[in-house]
Point group: C2
C-alpha cells in the first residue's frame, strides 16, 4: 500500500499539484494563522502572551486557530499543573521548516509588488 506521492509525480500532474499545494495553503489559511505562527517562530508562548502579541484577535479566534494548528501538526500544546494553570504553545519541527517556504513567499511578494507598481 504505497500511496506516497513524490515531488516529481505531483509536479507532473496538475491535479496532484493543486492538491499538494493546497495542503500547504490550508495549514496557513485564514486571517490569524500567519500572525500566530509569526508570534511563535522564535519562542514558545502562553495563551495570553500570544493574545497580547496580536492586539486585535479575540480569545475565541485564538483558541480556535490554535486548535486548528495543533490538529494539523503545526503546534504543540503543553499544560503545566501550576496555579493558576500554565499552557505553553510552541511550533513543531515541521512548522519551523515552513519558515523557508514563507521566506520564498516573502521574496516573491516584494518582487511582485514592485513589478506591478512599476507598470502603472
Amino acid at each position: 500500500m504505497e500511496n506516497k506521492i513524490s515531488f516529481k509525480e505531483a509536479k507532473a500532474c496538475p491535479i496532484q499539484f493543486v492538491l499538494a499545494v493546497n495542503d500547504t495553503l490550508n495549514v496557513i489559511n485564514g486571517k490569524w494563522k500567519l500572525p500566530i505562527i509569526g508570534s511563535l517562530l522564535f519562542e514558545k508562548r502562553r495563551f495570553t502572551e500570544i493574545q497580547r502579541n496580536i492586539p486585535k484577535i479575540t480569545p475565541r479566534m485564538l483558541s480556535k486557530e490554535l486548535k486548528d494548528l495543533e490538529m494539523n501538526g503545526m503546534v504543540k500544546r503543553t499544560v503545566y499543573d501550576t496555579t493558576p494553570i500554565t499552557v505553553e504553545y510552541e511550533l513543531t519541527e515541521s512548522a519551523k521548516s515552513l519558515g523557508d517556504v514563507l521566506d520564498k513567499m516573502l521574496e516573491w511578494g516584494l518582487q511582485h509588488r514592485e513589478t506591478v507598481l512599476s507598470e502603472s
Copy 2:
C-alpha cells in the same frame, strides 16, 4: 520617497514579514485561483477552455477570479475581434515566477503530510 522594503528588512520585522507574505497569499487565495493558475501555467487559454479544464467552476466564479487575477498583475487578457469574439488569458512573467514558490509549497506539503501521518 523610497518606501521600498528589502527582504532583509521585511524578514527582521514580524509585522512587515506577515504583511509581505500575506501579499503573496492574497494573490492566490480562494477556492479557484490555484486551479486557474494551474490551467494557465503551460499555455494560454480561452474562457471556455479554462471552464472545461476546471469542471465544477461556474462562469460567474471564473469571470470574477480572472478579473481579480488581472487586477493583481497575474493574468493578461487579450481580446481578438473575430466572430464570435475570442478572448485569451495568459499568465504574466511575475505569475510564472510564482511557479518556484508553488514548488516550495508542494515540497513542504508532501513532507509535512508524511511527518504528520507517521506520528499517528
